[in-house]
């Protein structure tokens, strides 16, 4: 399972296979500025500092341009980590812990 690090916030979480960065952070009790969760609105972009991601759905060029991709912009609702990754939140956004319980038990699952 790839590891996701948000160094500036001292956060490190394990991502499940096929789980997007957004899903992984929310499953671990974090929240940040997100919109449609479906790759259309672009406000959940973060900066990819290290590691590799792939997009699990087609992403419109109007949402994420080639130059943005090349420059390390990552659309977190569609990005699935291929390797361990390190990201940074955008300047006008923040990562908030909304549930310590979810953080505590993120690794456990039912079913």
């Amino acid at each position: 399972m790839p590891k996701l690090t948000v160094e500036a916030h001292g956060v490190s979480v394990e991502l499940r296979d096929d789980e997007t960065i957004l899903e992984g952070l929310y499953r671990n009790g974090f929240a940040y500025r997100i919109g449609c969760r479906r790759g259309g609105c672009a406000i959940c972009k973060v900066d990819l500092l290290q590691g590799e991601v792939f997009y699990n759905r087609p992403v419109a060029d109007s949402v994420l341009s080639e130059s943005e991709r090349a420059g390390g912009t990552c659309l977190s609702c569609r990005a699935v980590a291929v390797t361990d990754v390190s990201i940074a939140m955008r300047e006008d956004d923040d990562l908030r812990r909304v549930s310590t319980l979810m953080a505590l038990y993120a690794a456990s699952r039912t079913g």
Binding site: R33, R38, G40, C41, A60, D61
Partner: protein, 304 residues
């Protein structure tokens, strides 16, 4: 009355298979045609061939169409739109499958709006002879019909004036900078008939579509729709809740490409002599989300 209703909304989707699943199985529309990479749908309480068109590739607005009562009404809008100074072109029958002759007006924002008076009849799902109240086997939320759309535009007052002068619409509600006569219009809700809005306009830095909405049959159906969205993992922007503006009950949700949809119900009857309701920016939270009374991160910031 020249224009009768918003007849169709045409949007782009990134993944056609996922979008088809959403509009057919979650929204519960009926597919009437698939042709040239586009899929056409109607709601159960609509009689024309289609009201929603999805097209693969990208995301966001392609165009919408308003249905007029008679060809003369389309001709009248053509004359007025040309005089108003917006580019107008004719469209011929078949250019949009099952849609007759009409005109296409391009707003200064680039949004294309079509006006037509004929579309192939398909029929109500309950028929017209001794009909039942709703189809016995509805799918998903069973959206009965397309209701309205909200466009992001950079010049609300100018485009509002076009709709008022050229199509006969009028504003039921507005958000404006103050209660003064010379206030700047931030948003407007325009109606053709007696519903709260057929099209709404919101000031924004980009020219996009904020959402398009389906009319539901009351609060209990809105609540039921929210349950279906939970079952189908459909992302909800907000709701179920009520709007201050229009008093309508609502859920905003997203299709699999991130286009915002709405289920809308209620509001009040809008006779043409009804005074326009005015909201000021300090009350915007309550105006939009009457119960929460505050905006969330995305409602006024994202569109496709």
């Amino acid at each position: 009355m020249a224009v009768m209703r918003m007849g169709y909304m045409h949007v782009r989707v990134t993944d056609l298979a996922e979008a088809k699943d959403h509009y057919a199985n979650t929204v519960g529309l009926y597919q009437t045609l698939e042709q040239d990479g586009r899929v056409y749908y109607k709601g159960w309480d609509e009689w024309d061939h289609h009201s929603v068109v999805i097209e693969e590739g990208g995301v966001g607005y392609v165009k919408c169409g308003f249905k007029c009562e008679k060809p003369e009404d389309v001709a009248d809008i053509e004359t007025k739109a040309i005089a108003y100074g917006y580019p107008v072109e004719r469209m011929v029958a078949g250019e949009n499958p099952e849609v007759g002759d009409g005109i296409r007006v391009t707003l200064p924002t680039g949004h294309q709006i079509e006006f037509y008076s004929q579309m192939t009849a398909w029929g109500l799902e309950v028929g017209t002879h001794n009909p039942d109240a709703f189809p016995r086997h509805m799918v998903g939320i069973g959206a009965p019909r397309l209701d309205h759309a909200l466009l992001w535009v950079d010049d609300v007052a100018g485009i509002e004036k076009f709709f008022m002068e050229c199509t006969g619409m009028w504003a039921t509600e507005r958000v404006q900078t103050s209660l003064d006569d010379d206030a700047h219009t931030i948003a407007t809700w325009l109606t053709i008939g007696e519903s709260n809005h057929d099209i709404a306009l919101l000031e924004a830095p980009e020219n996009k579509i904020h959402h398009f909405a389906f009319e539901m049959r009351g609060w209990s159906d809105i609540l039921h729709a929210a349950d279906i969205f939970a079952m189908d993992d459909t992302p909800i922007d907000i709701g179920p809740t009520r709007h201050g503006i229009t008093r309508g009950t609502t859920i905003y949700f997203f299709d699999p490409a991130g286009n915002r949809n709405e289920t809308f119900s209620g509001g009040y009857r809008c006779f043409r002599d009804r005074p326009t309701v005015v909201w000021t920016p300090d009350q915007l939270g309550k105006a939009i989300f009457y119960h929460q009374r505050e905006l969330n991160d995305r409602f006024l910031t994202v569109a496709t």
